[in-house]
Symmetry: D2
Subunit: 346 residues, 4 copies
Amino acid sequence: MVIVMAPEANEADINAVVSLVETAGGDAFVSRGVERTIIGLVGDIQQFGALNLRSLRGVSDVVRISAPYKLVSRENHRERSVVRVGGVPIGPGTMTLIAGPCAVETPEQTLAAARMAQAAGATLLRGGAFKPRTSPYAFQGLGEAGLRILADVRAETGMPVVTEVVDAADVDLVASYADMLQIGTRNAQNFALLQAAGEAGKPVMLKRGMNGTIEEWLMAAEYVAQRGNLDIVLCERGIRTFEKATRNTLDISAVPVAQRLGHLPVIVDPSHSGGSRDLVLPLTRAAIAIGADGVIIDVHPHPETALCDGPQALVDGDLRELARVVRDLPPVVGRSLTVAQDAVPA
Amino acid sequence: MVIVMAPEANEADINAVVSLVETAGGDAFVSRGVERTIIGLVGDIQQFGALNLRSLRGVSDVVRISAPYKLVSRENHRERSVVRVGGVPIGPGTMTLIAGPCAVETPEQTLAAARMAQAAGATLLRGGAFKPRTSPYAFQGLGEAGLRILADVRAETGMPVVTEVVDAADVDLVASYADMLQIGTRNAQNFALLQAAGEAGKPVMLKRGMNGTIEEWLMAAEYVAQRGNLDIVLCERGIRTFEKATRNTLDISAVPVAQRLGHLPVIVDPSHSGGSRDLVLPLTRAAIAIGADGVIIDVHPHPETALCDGPQALVDGDLRELARVVRDLPPVVGRSLTVAQDAVPA
Amino acid sequence: MVIVMAPEANEADINAVVSLVETAGGDAFVSRGVERTIIGLVGDIQQFGALNLRSLRGVSDVVRISAPYKLVSRENHRERSVVRVGGVPIGPGTMTLIAGPCAVETPEQTLAAARMAQAAGATLLRGGAFKPRTSPYAFQGLGEAGLRILADVRAETGMPVVTEVVDAADVDLVASYADMLQIGTRNAQNFALLQAAGEAGKPVMLKRGMNGTIEEWLMAAEYVAQRGNLDIVLCERGIRTFEKATRNTLDISAVPVAQRLGHLPVIVDPSHSGGSRDLVLPLTRAAIAIGADGVIIDVHPHPETALCDGPQALVDGDLRELARVVRDLPPVVGRSLTVAQDAVPA
Amino acid sequence: MVIVMAPEANEADINAVVSLVETAGGDAFVSRGVERTIIGLVGDIQQFGALNLRSLRGVSDVVRISAPYKLVSRENHRERSVVRVGGVPIGPGTMTLIAGPCAVETPEQTLAAARMAQAAGATLLRGGAFKPRTSPYAFQGLGEAGLRILADVRAETGMPVVTEVVDAADVDLVASYADMLQIGTRNAQNFALLQAAGEAGKPVMLKRGMNGTIEEWLMAAEYVAQRGNLDIVLCERGIRTFEKATRNTLDISAVPVAQRLGHLPVIVDPSHSGGSRDLVLPLTRAAIAIGADGVIIDVHPHPETALCDGPQALVDGDLRELARVVRDLPPVVGRSLTVAQDAVPA
């Protein structure tokens, strides 16, 4: 941590900073410049955070240097992690396809979507039973009935299930059915939910907040990790910008940046990033090429009647092309598509 | 709702839209242009939303025309509302000052801050017992112990209490102590929390999401209203932009826009918008001048040791100036500072 | 300037930084922390900028501390400046109203708009003869014919003229007619234009780039100042964000921030910020209350036929209210409306 | 174009719109809804733009339907275009690598960088002689001396030259040396420069404004095209968002979107998007995989002493990897690297 003093700070102001830091058990190194004095702090940064140094007289700025997250940081954990979901790996070396319907509507629709997903190369099934919707008048999901459908389809297809949870009170219920808990973009800073998910004993997929910085995303993962769960997969799903031609702006650079700062797997959601069917395949190719550890894609047997996000669900011809892309592109970047045989029996 | 057909759409595509709309009980008016055909829909918009028109062949765009919120919309409720918190009014005609410590730390600190607030003209006391923090290592609030302190300070000062709730599971507890529930920016789309707050029988202050559009903010209010609670106050607290010189960018235009689109009172939080003490008074003046129904401000007897957001808490000289501003400026815009005598006995 | 070394940097990396800085005539103070080493630099910052320190092995970050602008910085010029335009002051103490048509269309329209402006309290006339338009098919302004109209209206009304210049090649022409050169938001980083304006011998009004940080705005002013012209007025006109309900988001905090960082006057354009007539007066009130040194407003005798930005031009009733606001509000913040008598004969 | 009337609009307001449109030679189709009336317009949209319909009483919104650009739109030009630069093609089918130093510094440095670029597979040489810099104290380029160096290196290597022009007054000079004129992000709405470039008789590379929408980018291209020059290549180089971990946010979705809306080739600048060396290769892979028609990359023989953007220039090992990527990845997406033999003799 570095303290930058204001030009008008005097010697007494500088001494006050130094003695406060030393009282807290840290060391302070003063560099007197022509225009400004800066003070470098050495010691326990958490402790300094509580000192409220920014409020002291003569302090102009406080610059943090170490990462504020510890458990998910790559500084202390050089190897990138592999997270297993019902035995299926997500992480370096492979490229995992997760696919399924945005929302679970009926057993038939869910099974059909799962078969489509599997045919395209998916090893994990996605599907929402609890849907966070901007409008209270929009379809909110089937709830536990939807979870039962997902479990039935898992039994039928062998695909482990990824599904969203939107309230801390529902975590145990969802965890009793799901193989991986998804936390959505609107809950990226719902700390009660993050903590509950950290205690549920299931892997967690953590979507980036649509307005969240990469640092905040890693801090959210730290909330999960702090409760003892390091089986976390980060999912980039587009951020909010001034551009109106796409639903969100996929921040493709976030994949290598988050992989460099943290040790967790990072996947991409091309369906919700672009918000339109014709962008899903191009964005999937970009995600694989940049080195994403997986992609998560909406498929639906009848997008024109989908209760949620129909315009972005892939249809037949697209799925054959998807199958080709997830098979042929990963080897160019030194990976291979995760297949069912990669799964480790639980 | 208007359907814009693609240039390559043919007559069959157009007829498919029309017959789908008519089957759903609506009317469709077709305007054939040289380059494009557009179809105007008349009828129940909720119904059309479920039709997934955007997925039909030949459809290029779907343009919504009516507001998607109903209960909080000014279209159906021309008069702007007054919300009473422990009897104290917030709404047109008056300008209400809410002040207090960012976080409740001790009984002494809270009472001292309340006295400072009251001396400056505040009629409502703010103070956080449950704090949502980006870092799991930061101070998270005193919880119920903090609520008890707030209740004691209310008894001592007569100021009704506004305090934050961060989890749906805590709503009943917080509502048993508080006069108004605050929902913070990170929970602006925590729909479970919004619904629980809508059923708690207490007024709700709803901060705008730091990345939320004004429409999403009104939709969040609709979630609360739908559960039978229209005692909602909207609070603008700054949005996230590329500018780094301030913590957030106060969207001052949001005040008149939200007041025109909805009938709910709209207040401003100048402390969290700017994130620094020297911006609080200027932003307070701007908020009052533009016609905000109130402002909510951090005060702390000893900002240099505050456990949360010390750098933005006002200190002595600032408070005297604040007292002057909230007294002298509202009359210039046809309002008067809300005083304790305005409170209606419960 | 502070150099933050990477965790893996070794002693040789640190020594390389130190010796490079010392060779350049600076001093380097090394603070060795448990996790990181930081190096504080003292000396000529321009010199260090050229060293490309960020490329050295082991360097993780370079943190600048001093402001990169000098001539417009308040660090070296504590008093806030007053800029005189045709004798009319803009700066602390007064609040100057600039008004007129967005675009000059005819002599009659321009004179009528000037009379409307003057009746509302304006002492400077705005009006565009060269219009930068997003579409090549939109009205681009009358060019020199428009400048002549402005000069005639100045002769008739006594109001000095503010008008935009969009190309370095036109600066001399525009300066031969105008009392102040306006540089628009799309040219906020057109450095050739900024330099030409700096040499034209007329005051310059510099709009903030719609995507520009406050620091970039001050750097643009530095380009003008470097050519010997410190008669610069900064104009905040809204930035681009994700919010769609307004044309731009007025960054009202930029007024006090730019006034604290630089010594130049700062005014606000409420017409282009909001983009709609009903926001002009509220935003004007906010601008005056926060301490803007002036406001610049679109007026048009017949907005419904305006060739440019008609939807935001004020009409009759609005103008009477504007006259009231600019007269009554400045005294509440310790200013008074600039009147013609304040002008210093040239 | 669709006119949405306000809820309170009456019959006279509707008739006024209709008669104004009909007077202008258009047709107006009225659809009366329960809550709102909408009016679809058919005819010459440019004409309607001049009507200022948004200012009419009772009009709530005006929704444009056709694209506002014509010459660069794919609506009227279904085939995607190939632009040839000194004979080298950029467009569908191939993937063109443009590389070279950010700034021309010396003959030796420029030739060395060109040889590095060529070895990696580049067929076009980039290099800046006129540099737009945020600070007036930063290196501004060698000017004409730099152009001469570029011409000499072209003679030596056979690589056509792409170089930036920053002022309309310099267009003829730069065009006399360059094979393609580059217009940078800060000049994306410098309309005088765009028009001058449109008349220079050389292909133009148009970078997207760092805050520009895709529509504005295409409108800027329309300015060039309107002067008779359709040899335009669009270059995505990152937009400005709230994320601070990267210099800009590469909007990778803009590639397929701009290729769908317009017929011009679209390339990506991974160097300036990310702003750091370790992001250049990942972003290059993403750009090729999504279907970019080319990439433009900074290389420098000695990045640690570069006068401009050293931290993002590729070095030796990176270049070998770049050579591998641009050779192996395009075939996976149905393209091949453009090689010197593809050049058509002028």
